[in-house]
């Protein structure tokens, strides 16, 4: 059954339909929220609010449903909630892109100190170093495997902007995680057409 049909039933009180939608998309929403916020509690709250707002106002998805799938809609909702929390936490300036050179220089030292720590912790911290918009593009592309067009829909930007953010995020991560690469800081990229 399609997401649209399930949503209709869930919005009219069908708990089973709601459970199916939730089962289908909760992983995506939670992972995305967790990687953006880096906090389990926050990610759970975002996931909760995300699904509840979907049921409270299903017409918001319907109006956007002409061009968006439910998963991109949910990602966009999770993104808005996460950024709202970041702003509330005083991280407003970090949402916009800032000087990458400066930020990279600042983050070199902590990463070097993490050489003995778990790789996952290093990656988590490196991603946390990214400006939110770059982080968002990277998470959706690398972890959730959304297409550039889908990420553009979620972020409300054009595909070129998303591509640029993704490129900068990768460059920065290459620098931040340099000790964990076999080839050091050399970027080993493989061009491919999918």
């Amino acid at each position: 059954m399609t997401d649209e049909r399930l949503l209709e039933q869930a919005a009219s009180g069908d708990e089973t339909a709601f459970a199916v939608i939730y089962e289908r998309h909760r992983g995506l929403v939670f992972r995305f929220a967790y990687r953006l916020s880096q906090s389990r509690e926050t990610a759970e709250e975002i996931t909760h609010d995300c699904f509840l707002s979907l049921i409270k106002e299903p017409q918001r998805f319907k109006t956007q449903g002409q061009r968006a799938s439910l998963r991109t809609y949910l990602c966009a909702a999770a993104r808005n909630l996460a950024f709202k929390r970041l702003r509330r936490a005083g991280a407003e300036t970090a949402i916009d892109d800032f000087s990458e050179q400066l930020a990279a220089a600042e983050s070199q030292e902590p990463l070097r100190l993490l050489l003995d720590a778990e790789v996952s912790e290093a990656v988590r911290k490196a991603i946390n170093e990214l400006p939110p918009l770059q982080r968002e593009a990277l998470i959706l592309f690398e972890y959730e495997e959304l297409s550039l067009a889908e990420i553009a829909e979620v972020a409300g930007a054009d595909v070129g902007t998303v591509k640029s953010r993704l490129h900068r995020a990768r460059q920065r991560l290459r620098m931040l995680l340099a000790p964990y690469f076999k080839d050091g800081v050399d970027i080993n990229v493989e061009r491919c057409r999918i």
Partner: protein, 170 residues
């Protein structure tokens, strides 16, 4: 590449435009795992969902509500409905298709008529039987009266009157 397996249901083909795939970076990023969703979130969300519908007005719940049935129950109910409909239709077609005869209308009209008083007349009819039936038991026979002509005298004058059956005009 564990995170790829984790996301496999959501895997989506990339657009046809050229993208750069950095496999080494991707592998390294895959080392960062996300925790599992706690069951408390599931429960909390379901509770919030139910509460959302509890606050709806009753008429709206009636109008937009739906029920879910297990598939075997639904199939059985559908089969029963079909069978009942079929039997009902079959029974209906066994009657003549023409219009049913209308019962004659009963019209009550009061007609006055004279009531004839019955008169009961009792008559005793003596019937002379020719001969007593042999089979019947013989009644006691009285002896015939004796005729005596001792006082008989002939009349001095004979006056003859001819009458015609009682007709006075003639």
């Amino acid at each position: 590449m564990n995170y790829l397996e984790e996301n496999s249901p959501d895997r989506n083909p990339k657009p046809a435009d050229e993208v750069i795939e950095d496999r080494e970076l991707k592998n390294l990023l895959g080392e960062w795992k996300t925790p599992d969703i706690t069951s408390s979130l599931d429960k909390r969300l379901l509770t919030s969902y139910r509460r959302q519908f509890l606050h709806r007005p009753l008429w709206r719940r009636w109008l937009t509500g739906s029920i879910s049935l297990p598939a075997p129950v639904a199939v059985t109910a559908a089969l029963l409905l079909c069978a009942t409909s079929y039997l009902a239709a079959r029974k209906a077609t066994s009657y003549p298709l023409g219009p049913a005869p209308t019962p004659p209308a009963v019209k009550i009209v009061e007609v006055p008529f004279p009531v004839v008083q019955e008169r009961i007349v009792t008559r005793v009819v003596y019937k002379k039987t020719d001969a007593p039936k042999a089979k019947e038991s013989p009644a006691p026979v009285s002896p015939p009266p004796r005729i005596d002509l001792a006082d008989f005298r002939p009349v001095s004058e004979i006056k003859i009157i001819v009458s015609h059956g009682g007709n006075d005009e003639k």
